[in-house]
Amino acid sequence: MSAPGRAAADDSNALGTQRARSTDKRVDINAMIFWLVQALNGISFGMLLFLLASGLSLIFGLMKILNLTHGSFYLLGGYVGLTVIQKTGSFVLAVVSAASVIAIIGIVIERFFLRRFHLQELSQALVTFGFLFIISDLTTVIWGPNPQTIPKPAMFDGAVHLGSFYYPEYRLFIIGFGLIIAALLWWLQEGTRIGAMLRASVDDEEVARALGINVSILFTLVFALGAALAALGGVMGGPIVGIYPGADFQILLLGFVVIIIGGLGSLKGALIGALIVGLLDNFGKVLFPELALFTIFAPMALILAVRPTGLFGRE
């Protein structure tokens, strides 16, 4: 991978100006490729964050629950996917089973532990925090404390190689997958009846109930969907980021940063916020390596100073 400013290896003085000019062009192309690679890195990481944050945002938007267990869904999804791949070798099966298993767990948690605390933020915080601790320790007991990775699906194991542009196929796959999910979620929200019921319940829950919308079932469905999305993130992220104790806390924090920037309850905000955080994280590390953590938090504080409800948040 070439950094900007690096002249071609076969440079020589023999052809003088002409070579110098083409070298400049080569330098420019190298520079462009470098920034393109960085941008793709940021976007692919952002897509992982989107999978997590979209669920977090949907759950908050509808149920006003700040789901502290969401990072655990990500982690547990990753571990379940890992086990399935180890037993069957199928990436697709891993993704599907992780999403399903965690969706079921999400349904149980919502139905029996969260629904009774509707609109009681402090109790919800206590419950979701409790589950965060429990799941965190359970995963260490079941899968051990050592870090794990999920092998990439064979179809995307290589890299795209165009001249000096070298980029892992899998990361491009993540970008594509993330965009497809975003499109699906958007269609669900805007183009289906369930989406309409969802939007109505978010706008005014009491009226929605009065209109005969079964808001309780909607709650459970959305929570399950959010959990499944987080699990998807865990499996998809497995091959690059790995699965290890502590990943739940780390990704939850990033998820919160995303929805703070994007705005609570907004799907569009989750996507844009995730991309922003992914890009900020990546470019921050490249341009201001000494400030690595600051490059996410400082812009976040700035955005909040200007728009306290995030970019697309509702009042």
């Binding site: 991978m1 960085q38 890195n41 404390p145 980021v241 390596p289 690595a292």
Partner: protein, 389 residues
């Protein structure tokens, strides 16, 4: 007459009872603290298990006295670690401490341990434990950061590397390793030194800034879950083809190999433990571990914990089990010459580790899983006090 005899016999028995040292009835209590939860549990848990294994091998008895191991979890946080150490010393009245992995916890405990004059055999790679925070009671039975980084720098230079990239944790072990690299290679030959934070998920920004034309190789100073990630992403961007990756210290520790992707083959490191070393002692050590762990192989963290326990056991035996006599214990400890699966180990004059290092290369083992091939042995490496005071 008979009364006199009975009285004499009873008296003799009583006297004999009185003359027996009171402490041989009390068990030897050892405080064992490691991070057992959280991301560092990947290092802490194997160490704790290995300590237990070493004492189990002695049937938890030394010189006729029972040994009681008291376990605590530092959870990887310094204030928790300090509180638990205080619990072990003041509440449980342990005779000595065997603990830790995380440098910030080590730094937080050291002043307390010195003050309390309680022997502490640590497995923290913290340089200051044999320097600014030195104490007669503190022993470090793992290489210091300067120690293992120096081996890595010198080995890679010997391999013909002239210019290197450096990527390491934004934490003292990472930064100090970079200082060592800069000193040995010369600051101008370290093309770029980057310091991602501990626990970074995505190394892409750091790795894609590396130009394979500019250096002969990359030195990497990160551990635990971060190491397999770096190896994987390094391969993802095709860097491993032109610029070999050399991990510092336990970068390719066996516990991490299961998480390493296929591109890990060829990655090198240099450390005090090599799983495939063909000696009878190592075969016994590995065999014993495999039998208790479903066929899994031990790694450097298991080895570290095991050896730390073993040297404590040896020193205790040398003083007849009198763990209360702290001065005798630390004296015995500083003199022990312990032969283990990796050869001779002992303490230097500042209580740092002296041991052999091996040049490791990851290869595919007979069952297709990854393992470390043992290359050159660098004999009896000492903490480099002269170069890095």
């Amino acid at each position: 007459m008979r009364h006199l005899c009975t009285t004499a016999i009873l008296g003799a028995l009583a006297l004999g009872r009185l003359m027996q040292p009171a402490y041989s009835q009390e068990p030897i209590k050892i405080g064992v603290m490691f991070p057992l939860t959280g991301p560092i549990s990947a290092q802490g848990a194997p160490e704790r298990d290995a300590v237990k294994q070493a004492f189990d091998e002695e049937n938890n008895t030394i010189a006729g006295r029972k040994v009681e191991l008291l376990y605590e979890d530092s959870a990887g946080r310094p204030d928790t670690g300090l509180t638990k150490i205080k619990a072990l010393v003041e509440r449980d009245k342990v005779h000595l401490l065997l603990s830790e992995v995380v440098s910030s916890i080590g730094a937080a405990i050291a002043p307390y341990v010195s003050e309390q004059k309680i022997p502490w055999i640590s497995t923290v790679a913290l340089d200051s434990l044999t320097r600014s925070q030195k104490s007669p009671y503190i022993f470090r039975f793992v290489p210091s950061t300067y120690q293992y980084a120096l081996v890595a720098a010198r080995l890679t230079q010997k391999m013909g590397w002239k210019k290197v990239y450096f990527i390491g944790w934004n934490a003292p072990p990472g930064r100090e390793s970079a200082d060592v690299a800069k000193k040995i290679y010369g600051a101008e030959n370290v093309v770029d030194a980057q310091f991602p934070n501990v626990g970074t998920s995505d190394y892409a920004p750091y790795l894609t800034a590396m130009d394979t034309e500019k250096a002969d190789g990359t030195l990497a100073a990160m551990w635990g879950s971060d190491a397999p990630r770096v190896v994987g992403q390094y391969g993802e961007y095709g860097l491993n083809k032109k610029m070999p990756l050399f991990g510092i210290a336990s970068f390719t520790s066996e516990e991490l190999l299961t998480a390493m992707p296929a591109q890990a083959v060829g990655v090198q490191s240099a450390y005090t433990y090599c799983g495939t070393l063909d000696t009878p002692e190592n075969k016994k050590f590995v065999g014993g571990f495999k039998a208790n762990h479903d066929g899994a192989v031990p790694g450097s963290y298991t080895y570290m914990g095991y050896m730390a326990a073993k040297i404590v056991i040896q020193a205790l035996k040398d003083i007849g089990g009198k763990a209360e006599d702290r001065e005798a214990f630390i004296d015995a400890l500083s003199k022990v010459q312990l032969k283990g699966p990796m050869g001779m180990t002992s303490f230097d004059e500042h209580h740092g580790l002296v041991a052999d290092f091996y040049h490791l290369t990851i290869e595919k083992g007979p069952n297709g899983q990854l393992q470390n091939a043992c290359g050159e042995r660098i004999a009896q490496v000492k903490d480099p006090y002269d170069l890095f005071p």
